[in-house]
Symmetry: C2
Subunit: 240 residues, 2 copies
């Protein structure tokens, strides 16, 4: 039996998604008996760097449990928060210009579509930025004392991400908009997610997966559930 896989590909908001209350862990819990949620999060990465490592993160000869090549059922692509670092502030080395971000996202989607034509590719926009909170938590030295990201710039990248999804005909979670009016609830340091922020991502992702026909109900359970085991003859459930 090959258990279906869902890959989470992205930056620190993906890498941290198995921290307590994290959206990745919630997905793994949700699909505990139906699908494996596989973490491929890379803190600090932008789409330019993601493109450089794509072949190494997702090798061509990906082979499943049964010895056959298996495509994951879904992959989330969640980049943009680092691309959107401003080019004249303290995290400039992570900045990727908007037009390149768009082109890179297209390349990432094409890579997956070519490798795994049946796999659902789900884009997630960068979250909004709370600049006031953000100034207090720079990743690098910040002599200017200015936020290395702005909410406005993140919004431009979010809109570009949505445009790419439209051009590719794939679904997208518009996190920037979804979180815009409760930034202090959803963002712990002005960028990364609180538990409530993680809940939003989890709920939005399962909603999009469900819209595309992927849900707890549609994916077969791997082995008998305890509720389906006859207390008077438990072993009957395990006949092959």
């Amino acid at each position: 039996m090959t258990r279906p896989k869902i890959y989470l590909f992205g930056d620190s908001i993906t890498e941290d998604s198995f921290s307590p209350g994290g959206w990745g862990a919630s997905l793994a819990h949700h699909f505990a008996r139906t699908a494996d949620v596989v973490l491929r999060g890379y803190s600090g990465y932008n789409t330019r760097w993601a493109l450089k490592v794509l072949e190494r993160v997702f090798p061509a000869s990906q082979v499943g449990d049964g010895g056959t090549v298996t495509a994951p059922i879904a992959v989330t692509v969640f980049f943009g928060a680092n691309d959107a670092c401003l080019p004249d502030r303290c995290s400039a080395f992570q900045h990727v210009p908007l037009h390149e971000y768009k082109r890179n996202l297209h390349s990432i989607v094409s890579f997956f579509k070519k490798r795994w034509p049946t796999t659902l590719v789900l884009l997630i926009t960068p979250p909004p930025i709370d600049e006031e909170l953000r100034c207090r938590h720079p990743y690098v030295e910040n002599p200017q004392g200015l936020s290395e990201r702005t909410n406005e710039a993140a919004g431009e990248y979010a809109r570009a991400c949505i445009a790419v999804a439209g051009e590719c005909g794939i679904p997208v979670v518009d996190l920037w908009n979804k979180m815009q009016h409760r930034k202090k609830d959803y963002l712990s340091d002005g960028l990364h997610l609180t538990e409530s922020g993680n809940d939003v991502v989890f709920e939005e992702v399962i909603k999009k997966l469900r819209d595309e026909g992927l849900s707890q109900e549609s994916i077969p359970v791997d082995l008998p559930l305890i509720a389906d085991i006859d207390p008077n003859d438990p072993l009957k459930a395990f006949l092959e």
Copy 2:
């Protein structure tokens, strides 16, 4: 690149290990850049049922990303809480006699040792039982009003599990003892784990893995960490 895998094989305490603050999610978070933590938890299962499904859960032709057969670096085996259900109480259909539990655990360990000679097999004993809490949370109808499990019986199964580990020369986490004196803190319903209980399992598991040479430091990081990327020439880090 094939990312090393750690399998978690067990009953509901494993299946639930990706709930908020769960020990499985904490392991996945801890090894976010080094190893995949793969959930194979089956609520309600005892060792007798586990043996029936072993071949299906871990197919012979397990093949890695590179197309070669790859063994996981570790597998946790965490059964006994259901085997220890009393034979004359409301969850009797899950009960497995002590001598059979011991034999079954031996068979499970042998299966892994034969399939993957280099893989670390780590046993975890059943946790203690808080009978008072447990009576209030029966899984099935409970006309007797008595706990379907007792702390004393769970302790016998824990000692059997420790004996099997000794006989096989493999490590074991003695959860029953570790949690004995703070049962109300560690058990939410007299059997399953609270967040503090999950922390204990996580800490004990990483300690045992570390003792056997498996740690964040010993497993190679898959791709450059942000701290290792030169801000003046980021792409240098991605030359293959």
